[in-house]
Amino acid sequence: MAKLDLRKIGYSFFWLLALLPLVIGTGCRKVEEEIGGIQIVFRTDCQWLEENGRREMASALSRFDKIDAVYGHNDPQAHGAYLAAKAEGRGREKTVKFIGIDALPHEGVMYVKQGVLTATLEYPTGGKEAIDLGMKVLKGEEVPKWITLGTRLFTKENVDKGGLEIPAKGPKRSGLKPDKPRPSKRLAETKQVVIGMSQCNLAEPWRVQMNEDVRDQAKKYPEIKLLEKDAQNDVTVQQSQVREFLTQGIDLLIVSPKETVPMTVPVKEVYDAGIPVIVLDREIQGTSFTCFIGGDNVLIGREAGKYIASLLNGKGNVVELQGLMTSEPGVDRHEGFLQGLKDYAKEHEAEAGSGK
């Protein structure tokens, strides 16, 4: 037994050693990007996962002695980075600034309260707004077709006051005509309405929060009866669940689609049957919906960039822990971040120029 083991170890380490230089030599740059005085020294895709954020940050820490800030595309990744810095044992968790995104009350906002994260930016769920707007629609009021929500910046100073409001710069898609008001007969006659909420995946904390926001706001209207369905991250399940709602006889549909294209047809069926539809977070094609409500990841990324640049006075080393870069939010938060850094650099160039 023991003899066999030794031989195997020999073989395995032999090829591992042979592969080492190959693997070590691949795809590495010392600085990923430099904007103004800010150097992005390490950048990697963490697929939204805290444990990946932690592992990648440990790598960044062992490569770079000077890291001033970490920009996590979501709060768990930023938190993972904090834990990595803590585990390193050089006290760097106290000097590096950690900035995350999402600001869920039980997650990012709490981390800011604890002093783990320096700041977090809210990615609004729109759940509360969906119920308010839905009731307006059912009462026969006109609502805008497209609403882009702003964000809130939470820091230690303002976290107890509910953060700093940053409004959006108008809707992302403009020039859409609002629907003609169609007051609900059932609401007028029986003082009762049934609202269906189709959620694409309740395994994500952010979406759990969305449902909770919807539920909490619905409790404020005694006439609402809320039905919830969870598609468990399967777009075909969500298609059939939306159609189920149609047969169940709901008065309003709130849907947070998993995918744009496959959800367009079922949503159109519901809308064409005369039931108003409020779409949350992810878009659907065409105009067969009553109202779209969503956040703006580019805006959030940009604010994060500006905030980090001002925190470091425009100079320093930044680690960027990206979300899944094949997903839209990941790309937007990255692009926005670069824009934010550029904005800051430009403003301060101008200031320095005018100062002279």
């Binding site: 037994m1 066999l4 083991d5 031989r7 195997k8 170890i9 073989y11 395995s12 090829w15 591992l16 592969l19 080492l20 230089p21 693997v23 070590i24 030599g25 691949t26 795809g27 590495c28 740059r29 010392k30 990923e32 390490f42 950048r43 990697t44 895709d45 697929q47 805290e50 444990e51 932690r54 592992r55 990648e56 440990a58 790598s59 820490l61 062992s62 490569r63 770079f64 002695d65 000077k66 834990l83 990595a84 585990a87 390193e88 044992g89 039980h106 997650e107 709490m110 309260k113 604890q114 309740l202 395994a203 904390p205 759990v208 870069m325």
Partner: protein, 305 residues
């Protein structure tokens, strides 16, 4: 100079990060939890079985542990044993279903994988269990700390210690030899007086126990109970066992090989991570290396014979 040949090694550290102990400590710490799972997995695979439920059991026991410690504020002397018992019980249930109902291990543990994940979510109501603004129990900090002047993580010690214990079990006890016998030929083992069903059930129980150990470590390392914890860990730990050279057909292999597999996967991921290699290339390289490893293991076996 080295930096010129191996750009990945150039950082701000003079010799490159690869030549600092921190690098290796981080790798060991990050893959200890996978390694602990792989210990239990080795025993199951030696009996020609498979356990797909270890990742979910990790999540479930982590949630259970966090619930006992954070929500109920119990002492660790109660919380840890209860969590370990919960994991072992789930593992034994796997074993009982497999042996007494003659269900294939793949199916039985797949069912456990799904239902344990459900239970994990049920415990926390779909949410993480975390201390929030209240005081975090000290045990979390203790397990996730590092000793020897911050040079060795407690989880790594737990991992290496379980490797040692498993080596003793497999090589120095009757139970260990029975595991090999069952994996080699269970009918022959039965005829020569091995209580096949009992040993097999115990193997799954041990895998459950190791999942619980990993679950407690995971919860301590992250400072909360996460219902989504450990997703995909079952595959990583199977890969660790197989890369080491333990045969999926059973009866052949050992715990030492699993240590090797753990180090190989750990180092590959660490090397790719420290170079900031893009995720797409990482997956391709990892896949290629798993195949290469198994091929090399088989060549080794052939030349020996």
């Amino acid at each position: 100079m080295i930096g010129a040949i191996f750009p990945g090694m150039s950082g701000e550290n003079k010799l490159g990060a690869f030549f600092t102990w921190d690098y290796h400590r981080d790798m060991l710490r990050d893959y200890s939890i996978h390694g602990i799972l792989a210990c239990g997995m080795t025993i199951v695979i030696l009996t020609a079985g498979i356990d797909l439920s270890v990742g979910s059991l990790l999540g479930m026991t982590g949630m259970f542990f966090a619930h006992l410690m954070i929500n109920l504020q119990l002492s660790p002397a109660v919380g840890i044993p209860f969590s370990l018992v919960a994991g072992t019980a789930a593992g034994l249930l796997n074993g009982v279903v497999i042996t007494s109902f003659r269900i294939q291990p793949f199916v039985a543990t797949l069912a456990m994988m799904v239902s344990a994940r459900g239970l994990a979510k049920f415990i926390g109501g779909g949410r993480k269990i975390q201390a929030g603004t209240q005081q975090l129990p000290a045990i979390f900090e203790q397990i996730s700390s590092q000793v020897l002047n911050n040079n060795l993580a407690i989880v790594t010690i737990i991992f290496l210690a379980s490797m040692g214990v498993f080596w003793l079990i497999l090589n120095r006890t009757r139970f260990g030899r029975h595991l090999y016998a069952i994996g080699g030929n269970d009918e022959a083992a039965r005829l020569s007086g091995v209580r096949v069903n009992l040993v097999r059930t115990a193997a799954y129980g041990i895998a459950g126990l190791m999942s619980a150990v990993a679950g407690v470590c995971y919860a301590a390392r992250t400072y909360y109970g996460d219902p989504e914890a450990g997703q995909g860990y079952e595959l990583t730990s199977i890969a660790m066992v197989v890369i080491g050279g333990t045969s999926l057909i059973g009866g052949r292999g050992g715990i030492f090989l699993t240590l090797l597999g753990t180090l190989i996967i750990g180092y590959i991921e660490k090397i790719l991570s420290i170079n900031g290699v893009e995720i797409a290339y990482r997956f391709m390289v990892e896949g290629a290396i798993i195949v290469a490893a198994v091929i090399i293991q088989q060549t080794g076996r052939r030349t020996r014979l």
